[in-house]
């Protein structure tokens, strides 16, 4: 009897699942009459990165469709988005089959999204097998772009929209470091700032550690120590007190995982007499202030967005996104958003939906995106530099995220940029 009941439960659940699928599958079947361009938005939809992929793409698709759609020759096409949950943070094979299904069963013509590099590599191969344009909005691994150079004919359908690749992220964070050292020299008369390097124990941290130790002395600064905390560390008081003992004036950071929160919170609580600058991905998020119990002020991190007008597309996107979704957009959301606009321009220039022709036009892209003047380099990667995409430096001041860099760097200052502020306890310590 118990077995019969159990079987009935299983049958009921399966029935409910398929019923829910039946109700919710509107938009999955290809609509025959309307002219549509199907774009698969691929990301880990149960996590914030995937959610942002979807929210950014949805916003762009709606804006473009409301404005009339995409003109291909003399026909008007609309964007139709396919939400593809890659589950890439848990399983790479899941991600690859999800995208393959999107292409073969759901008839996606273009793909945008992804975050995890291993999954991006697997999805890249799937997309290239089917010769579908794949625009990355999350993975920064430079190897993805190298493939375009190594085997152009196969990999030419791959493009990166965001972020700037790993090497450029490191390079730009070093610019932030120099910026801060200048402030210390001018305001606090510290001629040779001492720098403590704190890079989480991850591969990107390894590369940065090697580079920083070589490069920082050439900026007229002294490296006083290297700390490698675990990406899942919840207590960094040991590292912070050691840093205080070393007499460091600057803490140069790389945090891409959760440990960025306890780091900043304890740095603020202990009032370590050193400024904090570098990359702290947690500090890019809206919830950072709450997560650090209000102690995260003055944390200074490289970012894709800040409340500044990088181009005239930035603030409308930034503000509308916050209005619609209640949180700051990340480079995942901006990536998928920009990818749909860049794709639109390329399709319209090509006048056809032929992938090869669109690739040629994509390579000629030169337009304002939300992150700057957007041009692809020869490896189909984001071109970085003054006048192009530079990224921004954002600092938390009075519980709000503001943009403080570039502030005159190479003559560039985005409207809305404010002055960098030294934490008051640091000023006190070195007066």
């Amino acid at each position: 009897m118990k077995q019969k009941k159990g079987l009935v439960w299983i049958a009921l659940i399966l029935l409910l699942a398929f019923a829910a699928a039946g109700c919710g599958s509107s938009g999955e079947e290809p609509t025959a009459k309307e002219e549509v361009i199907r774009v698969a938005v691929a990301g880990p939809m149960a996590f914030v990165q995937g959610e942002h992929h979807w929210m950014g793409a949805e916003m762009a698709a709606q804006e473009i469709n409301d404005a009339g759609g995409i003109k291909v020759g003399d026909k008007n096409y609309k964007y139709e988005l396919i939400k593809v949950d890659t589950n890439e943070l848990m399983s790479v094979s899941d991600a690859a089959t999800a995208v393959e299904r999107a292409i073969t069963e759901q008839k996606a013509d273009f793909i945008t999204g992804t975050i995890r590099t291993e999954a991006a590599l697997a999805i890249q191969d799937v997309a290239m097998d089917y010769k579908k344009i794949f625009m990355v909005a999350g993975a920064s691994f430079i190897g993805l772009a190298d493939k375009v150079e190594e085997d152009y004919e196969r990999y030419k359908y791959w493009f990166r929209i965001s972020p700037i690749n790993g090497n450029l992220l490191a390079q730009t964070s070093l610019l932030l470091l120099q910026d801060v050292s200048k402030v210390l020299r001018e305001d606090l008369n510290i001629e040779t700032p001492k720098v403590a390097l704190v890079f989480e124990k991850a591969q990107a941290g390894d590369a940065l550690a090697a580079a920083a130790q070589q490069v920082v002395p050439s900026f007229g600064m002294e490296v006083v120590g290297l700390w490698r905390p675990s990406p899942t560390a919840t207590d960094l008081t040991a590292e912070l007190t050691a840093i205080q003992d070393s007499g460091a004036h600057i803490i140069y950071t790389y945090f891409s995982a959760a440990s960025g929160v306890p780091y900043a919170k304890q740095w603020g609580e202990l009032q370590i007499p050193a400024v904090s600058v570098g990359i702290n991905v947690e500090a890019q998020a809206q919830g950072f202030m709450a997560a650090t119990d209000g102690r995260g002020n003055y944390e200074y991190t490289l970012n894709t967005y800040g409340p500044v007008e990088i181009t005239d597309k930035t603030l409308p996107f930034y503000n509308e996104f916050i209005k619609r979704n209640g949180e700051y957009p990340t480079y995942n959301a901006g990536g998928t958003y920009d990818s749909l606009y860049i794709l639109k321009e390329a399709i319209e220039r090509a006048g056809t939906l032929d992938q090869d022709a669109i690739v040629v036009e994509m390579e000629k892209t030169d337009m304002d995106s939300t992150i700057g003047r957007f041009v692809f380099d020869e490896k189909h990667d984001v071109t970085w530099g003054p006048g192009y995409v530079t990224a921004v430096g954002t600092q938390w001041q009075d519980g709000k995220l503001v943009c403080t860099w570039p502030n005159g760097w190479q003559g560039i200052t985005y409207p809305g940029t404010v002055e960098y502020k030294l934490p008051p306890w640091v000023v006190e310590a070195y007066k």
Partner: protein
């Protein structure tokens, strides 16, 4: 010639057609072989290709943990070692998959030995915890030598397994069925008997004079070999080998599939994968609830069928003869081999009469 064929046919009739479970298995095998006739969609073929690879992995886990009772919570170690070995040999030395996969499997065997020798000093839960640690250790080592191993990002750009999706499909399905059959035969042999005995009562086996450590190491070796084959196949089908192959999720998947399909049966593991893996793909129509439904189904099945799906089904379609232990179809009334009645005796009715004689 005809005599031989006739005997073959008789054997076929006796062993396969006779038992409903084997008939179902035969139908399943034919369905797998003929699947491409019904659907040449590359997506469907890819799903079943991956299912075949994971079927080999699950069966290899069952061989070690189901049969020998050494609960291995770090089976991904063999999978990952072989995937990385195949990948690195392919990338740096240009060896073809036909060479890299067996070499990867051999590397997994060596790893199994290296891991087994210290681990087998432990018993029960302690062995399981130790096995859990090994893939994590290897992941750490991989991160320490990123130039050689690709670090967190893995090794990519590998050769394909074969030139077409269809050929991939047949290679993996063929290997899954072939290696699965081989594993099943191992469990059915004298070695298998010892494995089984070790699980039930290791002390008794040792008392009988058998070196159980040697046999446990043998089990690690077999299990590692077959898991290694599946790891090598995976690397060449995905064209990528990364730290995800050593993930704890990858260790737990074969356990879930095998527990669902029928533990300690080999065929249960294979059936579990071929049912659950495509089912997970079908569940993509409800992406938000996919994992949840999967978990709920597994929990429910294990509630009503604690031994797994296959033993439950077999219990219903076959009867074991009480005298000679031969399995018979459920429709039969008497055992084919010894003629004993298969009916369960019912108390009361016509079977026997109990008479009480009162003294006159």
């Amino acid at each position: 010639m005809t005599g031989y064929l006739y005997h073959l046919y008789q054997a076929f009739k006796e062993e396969i057609l006779f038992l409903p479970s084997r008939l179902i298995a035969l139908v399943g095998i034919i369905a797998l072989v003929l699947l491409p006739l019904f659907s040449q969609s590359p997506y469907t073929l890819k799903v079943f290709t991956l299912a075949s690879i994971f079927a080999i992995l699950a069966a290899s886990w069952d061989l070690l943990s189901g049969f020998v009772g050494q609960l291995n919570l770090g089976h991904a170690l063999f999978f990952g070692v072989a995937a990385y070995t195949s990948a690195l040999l392919n990338l740096h030395y240009g060896l073809s998959p036909w060479m890299t996969i067996p070499l990867g499997a051999l590397m997994a065997v060596v790893t199994g030995m290296l891991v087994g020798i210290p681990a087998l000093r432990l018993r029960g839960q302690y062995l399981s915890l130790a096995t859990l640690a090994f893939p994590l250790i290897l992941t750490g080592i991989i991160y320490v030598f990123p130039d050689f191993t690709g670090g967190e990002l893995g090794v990519s750009g590998l050769s394909r397994l074969s030139n077409s999706r269809l050929a991939d499909y047949y290679i993996t399905v063929g290997l899954a069925l072939g290696l699965g059959f081989l594993m099943w035969k191992i469990t059915d042999s004298k070695i298998g008997l010892i494995f089984h005995a070790i699980r039930e009562d290791e002390i008794a086996v040792r008392a009988a004079g058998i070196n159980t450590t040697k046999y446990k190491l043998l089990a690690f070796a077999f299990s590692g070999f077959f898991a290694g084959i599946s790891g090598g196949l995976y690397a060449h089908v995905m064209r990528l080998a990364g730290p995800s192959t050593l993930d704890v999720f990858m260790s737990f998947q074969p356990i879930i599939w095998t527990a669902f399909g029928g533990i300690a049966t080999i065929y249960g593991a294979i059936i579990g994968v071929y049912l659950l893996y495509p089912f997970m793909e079908v569940l993509r129509i409800v992406p938000e609830y996919r994992m949840l439904i999967f978990a709920v189904i597994i929990i429910l099945v294990l509630r009503i069928m604690p031994q797994g799906l296959s033993p439950w089904v077999i219990e219903r379609i076959q009867k074991e003869c009480p005298r000679c232990k031969r399995h018979n179809a459920f429709t039969r009334k008497t055992c084919k081999a010894c003629g004993t009645s298969l009916e369960k005796p019912s108390l009361g009715g016509d079977s026997f009469k109990l008479e009480v004689k009162t003294s006159e």
